[in-house]
């Protein structure tokens, strides 16, 4: 089976799920974070013979790593609102998140994107690190500045690297392919290189275009792009890669 693991609040993932299913990936199971966090029966083992996961969902479906052929993973967190207010709520969040880190790591490749020590669906990097990596990948980048006296609270507000109001567009990599806006070859190559060095095969790369200079500038990146921006061509390629077990994180 193939899996789409996402939040039920992720319309882009639900769109991709239906599109991939229509391309013949069957059985293709939709497993939402909400299903996993409520009334699921968990059996996860690690030991001398490796790691194993067997999850029985409330609707009776069973997710077993030995049955999985490929995964689109869009989990960002474990929704435990039903525990909110409980005295051990914070502890439960930590425990569930640690469990999710581990069981997602058991899933066989290809996975777009696999769990990482910095995030459930690929590393959540600070924009400063993305800028640094983007430059290493050969993308044109703006100068990034940050000081201890900036008036920004990043726990509630994302730090931007292009001026407020700048029009940007999103390119999406799937392995060695780039989807979205028409881009010069050098920028496409840079996007793929950024996906490679960040170990994020499905990567959204935000770019700003300057008509004055006819040039593109890196504006941000995310392991959780809106897949709809890649359109049907993205799904065509993703379906092939999942079916033929190509690409994704092969580590």
């Amino acid at each position: 089976m193939w899996l789409m693991i996402c939040s039920e609040q992720d319309p882009s993932a639900l769109w991709a799920y239906h599109g991939l299913q229509a391309r013949g990936l069957r059985p293709f199971q939709l497993v939402t974070a909400e299903m996993l966090a409520q009334d699921a029966k968990w059996e996860h083992s690690v030991g001398v013979n490796g790691a194993y996961i067997n999850i029985t969902l409330a609707d009776g479906r069973v997710i077993n790593n030995r049955m999985v052929r490929g995964v689109v993973n869009r989990l960002t967190h474990v929704p435990l609102q039903h525990f909110a207010g409980a005295s051990d709520y914070e502890y439960a969040v930590q425990e569930y998140t640690a469990l999710f880190m581990s069981w997602l790591n058991v899933l066989p490749r290809p996975i777009f994107n696999t769990v990482n020590a910095q995030g459930l669906a690929g590393a959540w990097r600070h924009v400063s690190e993305w800028v640094w990596l983007a430059a290493k990948a050969g993308l044109p980048t703006p100068v990034y500045s940050q000081t201890s006296h900036d008036e920004i609270d990043e726990s509630v507000e994302l730090r931007r690297i292009v001026p407020e109001g700048t029009r940007t567009t999103m390119a999406i990599t799937v392995g060695d392919r780039v989807f979205g806006p028409f881009l010069p070859q050098s920028v496409r190559t840079g996007c793929c290189e950024l996906a490679r060095i960040s170990q994020t095969p499905m990567l959204g790369v935000e770019l700003a275009y300057s008509q004055e200079t006819n040039s593109w500038l890196f504006a941000g990146a995310t392991p959780m792009p809106d897949l709809r921006l890649g359109g049907e061509p993205l799904l065509d390629v993703l379906a092939v890669k999942l079916f033929h077990r190509e690409g994704g994180d092969q580590s």
């Binding site: 996860h44 502890y91 930590q94 425990e95 020590a117 006296h149 726990s155």
Partner: protein
């Protein structure tokens, strides 16, 4: 120049500072509690990070730091911040200083002990166990479940079983007792981690670059860190030598996880099987150094100095 960050009186930081003093290695000590009179500035241009750190009336170029030893604590728990309102200027300053230094440390080419990103594997013990296996160590048989029946089967199969948190929170190892078995239904609301108890000798290994320091711990307690609480006696620590092969495995594991310095928890069975339980990326090594006299802080200082 070396940058030490944290609370100067915290034992590991104080020991490394003392070791640097002993060898006349120049360093700058950033006292996190004095965040309100410091200023940090980071700039990234063309893939190169630079910036400035101002404190105690001095100004340092971030480029000039060839190594960093970071024991920065969560700014929210600093005495100067913990009771302040969410929107207080002090809180914002403490947070932004922490954040700016951390962002720089993640990408600087300097030697950093340790960067934040690779420390993340320690957040989930079973996740880290899967990584540990790749480096040739055995890991204990582990079950994470919210099904009491599976726990009963696991206990029947393994005999003595322990339980502990999956994350790093409330991380105290306890033996699963008959009394615990009567309240197993409590796990239905949150999956819990159970592990087959491994008989043998606890060994804490500190790796610093290529250097290895091993300490054997003797105790009757399930979790030697809480030996007095669990058994009434304090744990006994003594220096031991590892085989070359095992030393190399520890170094490879540390490097493989992206760390420069680690505290590795091993258990060596009477049959000489080596189980690895955990790799701590921010080890409080002072407990082991003061108990055994092992020169761990000297090794950290040497590593920072580029030796």
């Amino acid at each position: 120049m070396i940058l030490l960050c944290g609370i100067p009186t915290e034992s590991p930081l104080a020991l490394v500072s003392k070791a640097l003093d002993k060898h006349d290695v120049p360093y700058v000590l950033l006292n996190q509690r004095k965040f309100s009179i410091m200023k940090a500035q980071l700039e990234i241009s063309g893939g190169r990070a630079s910036g400035k750190l101002q404190m105690n009336g001095d100004s340092y170029q971030l480029d000039d730091f060839s190594a960093v030893f970071s024991r920065l604590m969560d700014y929210r728990f600093l005495p100067e911040i913990k009771d302040t309102p969410e929107d207080s200027p002090d809180r914002q300053l403490g947070r932004n200083l922490f954040d700016t230094l951390t962002r720089w440390a993640e990408i600087t080419p300097a030697r950093v002990v340790n960067r934040m990103a690779p420390m993340g594997s320690n957040f989930s013990k079973p996740f880290q166990a899967q990584l540990i296996r790749r480096y040739g160590f055995e890991v204990p048989e582990t079950l994470i479940t919210n099904d009491p029946e599976l726990v009963r089967e696991f206990k029947a199969r393994h005999g003595r079983v322990i339980y502990k948190s999956i994350s790093g929170v409330r991380s105290i190892v306890q033996t699963l007792t008959d009394e615990d078995m009567t309240r197993l239904d409590n796990i239905r609301w949150c999956p819990t981690q159970f592990q087959a108890f491994v008989e043998g000798t606890n060994v804490r290994v500190h790796t610093v670059g290529q250097k290895v320091f091993a300490t054997a711990i003797s105790t009757e307690a399930t979790d030697y860190r809480y030996a007095h609480r669990q058994s009434g006696d304090y744990a006994e620590l003594r220096e031991v030598q590892l085989s070359d092969e095992l030393s190399e495995m520890c170094v490879n594991l540390t490097e493989g996880l992206g760390l420069a310095f680690a505290g590795i928890d091993l258990k060596v069975t009477p049959e000489n099987h080596v189980y690895c339980f955990e790799v701590n990326p921010s080890p409080a090594f002072s407990y082991y150094e003061s108990s055994t006299g092992q020169p761990i802080s000297e090794a950290v200082a040497g590593y920072l100095a580029g030796n």
